[in-house]
Amino acid sequence: MHEYAFFLGCIAPNRYPGCEASAIKTSEKVGIKLLPLKGASCCPAPGAFGSIDLNVWYAMAARNVVLAEEMKKDIALICNGCYKSIYEVNHILKHNDELRDGVNEVLAEIDMQFKGSIDVWHLAELYYDEKICGLKKIRDSVTTPLNGVKIAAHYGCHLMKPQKERHFGDTENPMWFEELIEALGAEPVQYRNKMQCCGAGGGVRGYDIVHALDITNEKMINVREAGADAITEVCPFCQLQFDRGQIEIKEKFGDVYNIPVLHYNELLGLAQGMSPQDLALDLHAIDCTPFLKKVL
C-alpha cells in the first residue's frame, strides 16, 4: 500500500464531496491509501490569491506542504488548481534559496519550517504511473465497465502547463487521460481544441463571469460536436465551471447542452461498483441520470 497525505483543497470537499469520497474509496482498491492532512487550508487559489501577492501565496502553500512534511508523507491531491499551488511552490522553494529563506522567516512565526523533504502528486498521475498503480490495476479493479458511452477528456491547464516546470511531456495533444478513460471500458472521444482552458481560472470567473462562460461555451460546442455523453476532468474547479456553467450559459446565452460532468474519480467509482448515491451525483447541476442509464 502506498500512503499519501490527501490534500483536499476547497471545491472538492465543500461543493462536490463525491470527488473526495470516491478518491478515498477508489484509490484503496488500487493500492493507494489516502490519509487526512489535518489542518490544511485552501491551497491557496493560484489565480485569485497569487494575483494579489505571490509572496503570501508561497508562504500559504508552503504551510500546507509543511503539514505533510511533518507526517513524512508525499502529498496526493485531486485538483489542478491545488496542484499548481502545492506542487509548484514545493518545487520552487526546493530550488530557490532566496525565496525559501523568505518563506521560512514567516513560517518561523508559527513554529514551522519548510524542509523540502516531500514530493507532490496528482492522484491521476499516480493512477497512470506503472510504479504506483498503472492502467492494468485500474482495469482489474473495474467491476461495472462503462461500456457504450463516449467521454470527452478535459485535461485542464495547471496540471500539465507550464510544460517545462512539469514532467508530463507534450501539452498540445497528450493521450494519457484518454488511456485512463479507456481502462474503464468507456470510449474516449477526440474533440477540437481539447487542451483549451475551461475559462474559470486566474480569478476570471469572479471578475467577468460572462467572459469566463464564453470560453466554456466554446469548449461545450466542441464537446457536443464530438458526440460525447459526458465530460470528465481531474479538477473540481473545471468541474464547477462546466457543470454549473452550463446552467449559467443557458441563462446568459440561451445555449443548452445538458452534458454531465464527472471527475475522473467519480467515473472510476461508478466503474468499481459505487452507486450514484455514494458519489452524491445529485449535487451536480447537470442531471447525470441519462448518462447513468447508459452505463449501469
Binding site: 497569487g50 501577492d53 503570501v56 514551522m112 507550464p162 476570471v204 469572479g206
Partner: protein, 191 residues
Amino acid sequence: MAAKTYNIPELDTKLADRRYHLTDANPEFTQKILKTSRTIANMCYQCGTCTGSCPSAPRSSYRIRLFMRRCVLGLEDEALTDPDLWLCTTCYSCTDRCPRDIAPTDVIMAMRNLAFLRDIVPKNFLQTCQLIYNSGHGVPNNDVNRAARTKLGLPADPPTTHSYPEFIKGIQKIIDHYGLKENADRILKGD
C-alpha cells in the same frame, strides 16, 4: 529628419523621441517585473504567438503581446490601469508556445501584484482573501454540503481548518505578516 509638428508641445516632444515615449517609461517597472515573474520578459521579440494561443483574446480586447511590450518599454501606468490585465485565465498556453522561452503568464501575475500595490484590484480577488483569512478556505463549507457529506459517510466538515480551527490563527499570522487582509479590508471599504 525633424519630426512633424502639431503645435502641441507635449505631443511634439513625444514625436521627437524616435525610440519610444521616454516620458511615459519607467525602466524600474521592467526590472520589478523581471524579478517577480522570474522570467526573461525582456527577450520578447513581439512575434504574437502568445496572443494567438490565448483563449481570452478572441472574445475581448485583451492582448497578451501588448502587455509584453508594455513590460519591455516600462509603460507602467498604461499596463497597470488597463482593466484587460484581469482577463488572463492563467492557462499557460502562451507560456508553452513562446519561442523565446518566456512565461508571459507570469508577467501578467507580476503586473497584477504591482497593480495591487497601487490599490488597483477587482473586488473578487480581495473577497477570496478575506474568506481564506476567516475560514482557511476560499470556498467554505455550507449546510447543504454538510448534509450531503454526512450521507456519504464523510465527516460533516472536512479534516481541514474546518475541523481544526486552531490552525486558522497560523494562517492569519502569515497573511498579516504581509498586511494583506488589512489592505483588502481598506480597499473594499473605499469602494
